[in-house]
Every structure is written in C-alpha cells, then in structure tokens.
Symmetry: C2
Subunit: 231 residues, 2 copies
C-alpha cells in the first residue's frame, strides 16, 4: 500500500487523513474545544466532497499540479491513537502518567522512494486495528502529491544534511530556551521570597509607627481627624 496519513475513528466514523502531523498539530492546538457532532459531520461532508466514491486512488507521481485533481486517497485504516493532545484538559496528574491508558502503538507508512531501494524508515510494526479516542478534524485541504525525489540524488542528500543541521540547531535553541525558563523561574522565586520578606519588614515598621502615633493621640483624647492614614 502507498497510503500516507492516518486512519482515525471519530464518533464511530472511520476516516483516513493524510499528513499525520497536521492532524496532531490541530489536535494539540484545539483539543480543548472539541467540535460538536454536527460540526464534525459537516466537515466530513466537506472532506468527502472531492472523493464521492471511497475507492482507492493510486498516487500519480508525475502529476505536477499540487492543487489539481485528486491523487492520493486510501481508505485503508491505519491505527492512530494519539492520546497526547487528548488527555483531559484538567492538567491530568501533572506528575505521573494516567492509569494504563494511552501511548498505544501508532503506525504511519511513508511513500516508498521512487528510485532507491528505499530505506524503510517508518516500518510498519504490529498491524493493530484498534481505534479509540475521538479526534479533532484537520483543516480541510485536498491532499497534494509529493514531487518524487530520488533518495540517491545529491540534491536529496544536500537537503537532508541541511535539514539535519537545522534540526540540531533548533533543538539546541529549544534546550537553551528551556534552561533559561527554568532559571528564570528559580530567580523569580528567590526574588519573590525577598519581596515577601521586605513586605513583612515594612508592615512591621508600619505597625510600630501606628502604635506610636496611637499612643501619642489616645492619651491626649482630641484631634482624631488628622490621624493615621489607612491606605
């Protein structure tokens, strides 16, 4: 099979979507306002529109117009139980994982390379067929065909190498950002403690002064109008 994407089960309706990451992104970003069933069904209509028949449509590697005719659909169901963006919106346990729930294997198959013998990177592991959690639908867009690029080509290697460098750089940046945030949090916590202490000191001073003033004024018994401000 040359399917690209994931099969999902939305309120009992099995669907196949290309581009698992898109779905994941949408899920991650929107998992806190799930659509209603009617919204889902309307979106399904929109989605199914270009492909009224649910038959397979083989990928056409030579098609050049990306937004043109349909060229990639497979109704083969692929397991996809993401569960990450769907863990209840109430912070979960924040310390440990949920009960036995979740992190079930999920398989996505890739387009095999067109010329090379193909390093089957995302190999299909177990062929489980369960669909569990409800799912957010991705924004609707017709699947586009990839430009077929030989994995042996120098251009491919160049692209890969450049991307690898970018990935390392990006992750390094992320690591530093995380570290910085942690340090900032610690710093703020320290500062908070100092500020709390200072507030304590000032409050005590205020109490002392108020006490002194009250002692001065109470025995004298008059002029209560110009008293201690209580802002």
């Amino acid at each position: 099979g040359e399917e690209v994407g994931v099969g999902v089960d939305i309120w009992g309706i099995k669907l196949f979507f290309p581009s698992p990451q898109t779905i994941y992104h949408q899920t991650v970003n929107l998992y806190d306002n799930l659509p209603t069933l009617s919204e889902v069904s309307s979106v399904i209509q929109e989605w199914m529109n270009p492909y009224p028949n649910q038959a397979h449509v083989t990928l056409n590697p030579t098609s050049s117009s990306p937004a043109g005719s349909s060229n990639l659909v497979s109704m083969d169901m692929i397991t996809y139980s993401q569960s990450q963006g769907l863990r209840g919106s109430s912070e979960d346990r924040m310390d440990e994982q949920m009960m036995g729930l979740s992190y079930l294997p999920y398989t996505s198959s890739c387009l095999s390379s067109t010329t090379s013998s193909g390093n089957p990177h995302h190999n299909h592991g177990s062929n489980l067929q369960e669909f569990s959690p409800p799912f957010i639908l991705p924004t609707m867009r017709a699947p586009v065909a990839k430009r077929s690029i030989s994995k042996d080509s120098a251009e491919y290697r160049l692209r890969r190498e450049r991307n690898n460098i970018a990935v390392r750089k990006s992750r390094d940046k992320a690591r530093r950002r995380i570290l910085m945030t942690q340090q900032r949090a610690l710093q703020l916590q320290e500062e908070n403690q100092k500020l709390q202490m200072k507030i304590g000191q000032l409050s005590q001073e205020l109490d002392t002064l108020r006490h002194i003033l009250s002692q001065q004024h109470l025995p004298g018994s008059e002029e209560g109008a110009a008293g201690v401000p209580t802002v």
Copy 2:
C-alpha cells in the same frame, strides 16, 4: 565498515570512541571543566591499553560475555563536530545562534543487523573528515558487544514497540513539564509585580507616617529620644 562510534580530535590526537551518545553526555555534563593535556594523555593510555595495536578487530557476534574480551574497535575516523556542548559557557547570545559556527554534519554508523536485510537507518551522509573542537573524554570502559538480534524477530518488534510507547510517554511528560515551568514563570512574574506594588504602597505609607511624626516632634523641639524608628 562496521564501526560504531565517533572519531574525535583532542589536541591533535585523533581517537575513535564507540557510543557517540556517551561522549555527548559526558561532553554536556563536563564541558565546563576541561581536562589538562596530561590528564588526557593518561586517559588515552588507559584507553589504548587493551588494544596495543591499532588494527581493526572485527566484531564477534557470537561472543556472549559482555565484559569479556575486546570485540569492537575501529580506527576509522568518523566526523564528529558536536559543538553543542561546547558553545562557550557564557550563555552565548541567548537569542540567536552564534556566527557561522557549528552544527556541521556528523555521522555515526550503526551495527548492521545480523540476519535481517537491515534498514540502514543511520546512513552515512557526506564523508567529511574534519575534526575541530577539543573534546572531553568519556569515562573509560571497554566496549561491549551487542547481542545480535534479528530485526525481523517478534521479540525485536516487541522491544521496539514498547520503547516507542515509552518514548512517546516520556516526551509527553517533558512537554507538560516545560509548559508547567513556563506557566509558573509567568505566574511568579505577575506575583512579583503585585509584591512590588505592595512594597511601593507600604513605603509610601511609611513615609507619610514618618513625616507626620517628624512634624509633631520638630516644632516641639524636645524629646528626640523616642523618635521614629529607622529599621
């Protein structure tokens, strides 16, 4: 070649170490206290000890004792310019990357599987041969042979699938931890502002009271002893 590990250049001395990640970890953890040249050379002696001749020693897949005889050495140099753990310890730019420096491609090849046709996962990209930054040595330990496991075996797939689940779980946890830290930092920042404001208020109150007291005492000209405390 069936080499596993990375080649590094330490003060001009080219070495090959197995397990790139070990080196990376050591580098990350220790990059702020680089060893002296004498330390390095003694470590090199220790490292070279089991292998006085620098010839290739072929991997023996049937050897069962992990801590037993030497079974994995290759002096083929593999490019390794990590540069991540070596970015100056002064926070760098904290916003953007350094100048043209770093993130050069780095290649590590893996043991090919013994029975399966072998998915060449970590494929060798460009065959650059440059060695640049000085490097921390890993803790010395004789390389151990991996138990040869067929990639087709059900056990392998089981292990992989379990690890994949663990990985997803771990990353989910990390994501939540990061989010939590960010939120905490924001929260602390808000709290800080409030505290600062409160300190401002209290200070102003104090000033007012001090002013009042000074007004009361200065015109009367005496009894300066029981004055305003200046804690």
